[in-house]
């Protein structure tokens, strides 16, 4: 029986052994011995320990001792060396054999080969490690949750991100970490996913390191072979930066829309400040603008700063001493003052004001135009020391950029408004309107002044028909022809026509138009319409006055002219009498000289006519009125004459250079007579240069103080000059060097000047030409002006003056 038992024990499918109560092994079955290759003698006692893997030995011994001490049943997993040296895993099971008293009398043990199981487990563990390393290495925050929502696992990034251990996270209730505003939405999404088993997708705020950040949570289920959901993978992506960027973009869009829709600049600047104050909480913002001169800062916006602070900054000069904003504007670079208490700059000015208002940090950033010009400064203040973060810097960049757009837009708008106003004013002043005409569609755009000229209602669209109703009936065919020709050949247009207004008044217009093609190749005309009416009327008035003045220039004092008149009349009379005498003698001859008599009689008639013409010509001189004397500003009188004769001078290509003294005293005299003299001198000078082609036809008219309380006026030409012997004779009545001239101008001029107690003379220039000058006394203090001058004053002169003063 014992043998049989022994054989059974040897054949048991395990390594069986027994030990004494003190742990000394006293039996090992055959399988044990076969497996280890150890003999009974070698293995009994403590010899069996040599078969235990050295790494497992200390643990085994400790365990074995505690088992022996406690007498309890225990299990251990230990590697045993096989006879061929290979170790395999075994489960050591020991069981105490005890007396009724409880004292252990023997230990029975069995080692079961669990190597295959252990290896399988090992593989599984390796799989799991690999899985975890993959999940841990995943570039996202990954959590595994049970279908009930409990956290099962979180990857390393997840733990690092939230700064907690897996255990801690498992302990905390899941909902706490979500933003209260988002919680309901998160739970609803989770419930829906759990019900449907479909992947879920949600954006929510999650607390990390004490602050909420935006996350995108993407959950998808893991199912077992039966299709039941066993786990949810949740991938969390931090989208806080993206969310902020989106919000910033939305703000930027809103602000740019404000700019585009023409909100006032101050409203936009205020909104900019508020955006920053909302986004970076705890700060105060301001925008200062550089004024037009570029030398001072002026208030732009500061919705949250006290007025007393704003007022103390407004108007500060742009330099490095006025404060951080002025410095930033001056240097065109950002100025960061992290802690005003530690700040050494602006020590006695700005810094104290800022500190007094409780400000501790100030970051000033210039707002630059596209061309790099500093338009203003954006400032961020804090009431605690602070350095801008990267995110704050990028916000500042964004805001200053929008501010620059807003300010530039506002400045451009203002410039445009100014330029439009200027243009409208210029059009009004010059009575010139403009228009745009698209020949294809007959679309017409008019400027305000054009409407004014045509006197048409600007609320009704302009059409060619409407324009035609204003065109003078006599000019209408020509007008229509011009329009049609322009439409056909696209050439530039220049023509004049008249308007007839409803009140029958007539306007003279001049049109200048330039053709071009628009983007689509359509013909369009841009043109100017000038209202010439005033000019035309003034020209007519001027021409009339000039002829009247010229007529008067031939009228002079009787005394100076009596001899001249006699001379003019006696010449033809002499011819008449001589011819008549000759005629009589020829008739009385024998035989009578009939042909000679006829010829002399013919001459008699001719000379008689000539005498009659002289009388007619001189009759004008007899119609005269007495003149008053008055204080005359010779400069002003000269300017009027220049205005009067300018056209004549220009026609003769004369360059008029006035040099009128600033402090010229007044003179006493007859203004019109003096003007006749000036006119005479100007026209003479112009005539003297009519053949000059090798040098500029320059005419200098000069007024100046002369010796002995006198005033001198000189007219210097670059003409043919004077004949040396002829200088004095120039001033004799009827002396002339001109073809067709009556020679009365200079003699008349001299007599006028002499009646003003002055004198008139001529002198050759150093260079070409001559200078004619007169010098008359200045007005004496307390002069009565009672002196009567031989002069003419007519209504025409008054009209002339009136006309000359018109613009």
């Amino acid at each position: 029986m014992e043998n049989e038992l022994s054989r059974v024990v040897d054949m048991l499918p395990g390594l069986v052994w027994t030990a004494l109560p003190d742990g000394q092994v006293d039996f090992l079955n055959q399988r044990w011995r076969e497996y280890t290759g150890l003999g009974v003698d070698e293995a009994c006692g403590e010899g069996w320990l040599t078969a235990v893997h050295p790494e497992d030995l200390p643990g085994l011994l400790e365990r074995w001792r505690s088992i022996l001490a406690s007498g309890e049943l225990r299990e251990m997993e230990v590697r045993l060396r096989r006879f061929d040296g290979e170790y395999r895993w075994f489960l050591f099971r020991t069981c105490p054999l005890a007396h009724a008293s409880g004292q252990v009398v023997k230990w029975c043990g069995m080692n079961i080969d669990i190597d295959d199981r252990r290896r399988a487990e090992e593989v599984l563990r390796a799989h799991e490690r690999r899985f975890r390393s993959i999940v841990d290495g995943f570039p996202a925050l990954v959590a595994l949750r049970t279908p009930a929502g409990n956290l099962e696992y979180a990857n390393r990034r997840y733990l690092e991100y939230f700064g907690a251990t897996l255990e801690k996270l498992k302990r905390s209730a899941g909902g706490d970490d979500f933003h209260p505003d988002d919680l309901a939405e998160v739970l609803a999404a989770w419930r829906e996913a759990a019900e449907t088993g479909l992947p879920c997708d949600i954006e929510c705020r999650h607390r990390a390191g004490g602050v909420y950040r935006w996350f995108h949570m993407h959950g998808f289920p893991l199912r077992d072979t039966d299709g039941r959901i066993v786990l949810w993978y949740l991938v969390h992506t931090d989208i806080d930066d993206r969310k902020r960027a989106e919000a910033a973009l939305a703000e930027e869009k809103r602000l740019l829309e404000m700019v585009a829709s023409g909100h006032s600049m101050s409203a936009i600047l205020k909104a900019l400040c508020q955006v920053v104050e909302r986004t970076a909480s705890g700060c105060y913002c301001s925008i200062l603008l550089v004024d037009q001169s570029g030398t001072r800062l002026e208030h732009g916006a500061a919705p949250s700063l006290p007025a007393s602070y704003i007022n103390s900054i407004n108007g500060r000069p742009v330099n490095v001493d006025s404060g951080p904003c002025a410095t930033a504007a001056y240097l065109n670079q950002q100025v960061i003052s992290v802690d005003l208490k530690m700040e050494t700059r602006w020590a006695y000015g700005w810094r104290q004001i800022a500190l007094a208002h409780g400000l501790r940090a100030c970051w000033s950033t210039p707002i630059s135009s596209t061309t790099g010009k500093v338009l203003g400064v954006f400032a961020v203040y804090y009431d605690e020391p602070r350095t801008p973060t990267r995110r704050e810097q990028s916000l500042i960049q964004q805001i200053t950029h929008i501010a620059s757009i807003a300010v530039e837009r506002a400045q451009n708008d203002a410039a445009l408004r100014r330029s439009e106003a200027f243009l409208a004013e210029a059009q009004h002043l010059s009575s010139t309107g403009s228009y745009l005409w698209r020949a294809e569609t007959d679309e017409i755009t008019w400027s305000e002044e054009t409407y004014r000229i045509f006197e048409l209602d600007r609320t009704v669209p302009v059409t060619l028909e409407r324009i035609s109703t204003r065109v003078h009936p006599d000019d209408l065919p020509a007008f229509k022809e011009q329009v049609e020709r322009a439409r056909c050949d696209g050439s530039n247009v220049e023509f004049e026509f008249r308007l007839q207004m409803p009140n029958r008044s007539v306007k003279y217009l001049r049109v200048l138009s330039h053709s071009s093609r628009d983007e689509s190749g359509q013909l369009e005309y841009t043109g100017a319409i000038q209202d010439m009416t005033e000019r035309r009327l003034s020209e007519e008035a001027l021409a009339k006055v000039r002829s009247e003045l010229a007529h008067m220039a031939r009228v002079t004092s009787l005394g100076a002219l009596t001899a001249s008149i006699a001379h003019e009349v006696n010449q033809p009379l002499s011819g008449i009498i001589t011819n008549a005498g000759t005629c009589l003698r020829m008739l009385a001859a024998d035989p009578p000289n009939i042909d000679g008599a006829r010829e002399t009689a013919r001459r008699t008639i001719r000379d008689g006519n000539r005498a009659s013409e002289v009388i007619t010509r001189l009759r004008a001189l007899f119609s005269r009125k007495s003149a008053t004397t008055e204080s005359v500003d010779l400069n002003e009188a000269t300017r009027e004459v220049m205005a009067l004769s300018l056209r004549e001078l220009q026609r003769n290509r004369v360059i008029l250079r006035p040099q009128l003294a600033d402090d010229l005293p007044l003179v006493t005299g007859d203004r019109v007579q003096l003007q006749q003299v000036i006119l005479n001198l100007l026209l003479n000078a112009s005539d003297a240069m009519s053949c000059v082609d090798d040098r500029p036809r320059q005419l200098v008219i000069r007024t100046e103080r002369d010796e002995g309380d006198r005033v001198r006026l000189s007219v210097q030409d670059a003409g043919v000059g004077l004949e040396p012997q002829g200088v004095e004779r120039l001033f004799e009545p009827f002396y002339t060097t001109k073809n067709g001239g009556m020679g009365i101008g200079l003699s008349l001029s001299r007599s006028i000047i002499e009646s003003h107690h002055g004198h008139l003379w001529a002198a050759p220039n150093d260079g070409p030409g001559a200078t004619f000058s007169f010098s008359i006394p200045r007005r004496s203090e307390g002069a009565t002006g009672a002196r009567r001058l031989g002069a003419i004053r007519t209504h025409a002169v008054a009209t002339a003056r009136h006309a000359m003063r018109k613009p």
């Binding site: 001379h567 011819n579 000759t582 009589l584 001859a589 000679g596």
Partner: protein, 123 residues
């Protein structure tokens, strides 16, 4: 053949230059007209002229100027001045300087005839 005495007329007025030579021919003289003193001096008539009818006021060289010039050249031609300026003070001065006569335009044919007779009588 009768050689007629030559009377030269110097006057810038064309109607005088036209009418006077015809009248002088009626009187029986040969006549030649010049529009200026310069033209007369340049002509070949200076030596042949028996009497000079001379306008006082002319552009360029005046009548008295020509008188002086002739005296300088020792050409003693009797001169009858004519003038359209009815200035009585002119006449005595001209006569004093050797003129035969000074006639104020317009003058009659008889006054001219007498002056010419006087001129030719002197010489």
């Amino acid at each position: 053949m009768v050689v007629r005495s030559l009377v030269s007329v110097v006057d810038d007025d064309e109607s005088v230059r036209e009418s006077l030579p015809d009248l002088l021919r009626e009187f029986g003289f040969a006549a030649q007209a010049f529009s200026s003193a310069e033209e007369f001096l340049a002509s070949d008539c200076v030596c042949r002229t028996g009497c000079l009818i001379l306008d006082v006021a002319m552009p360029g060289m005046s009548g008295p100027d020509l008188q002086c010039e002739l005296m300088r050249r020792r050409k003693e031609i009797p001169i009858v001045f004519i003038t359209a300026h009815g200035d009585e003070t002119v006449r005595p001065r001209l006569l004093e300087q050797g003129a035969v006569e000074c006639l104020f335009k317009p003058f009659s044919d008889t006054a001219l005839c007498e002056a010419l007779n006087a001129a030719f009588r002197v010489h």
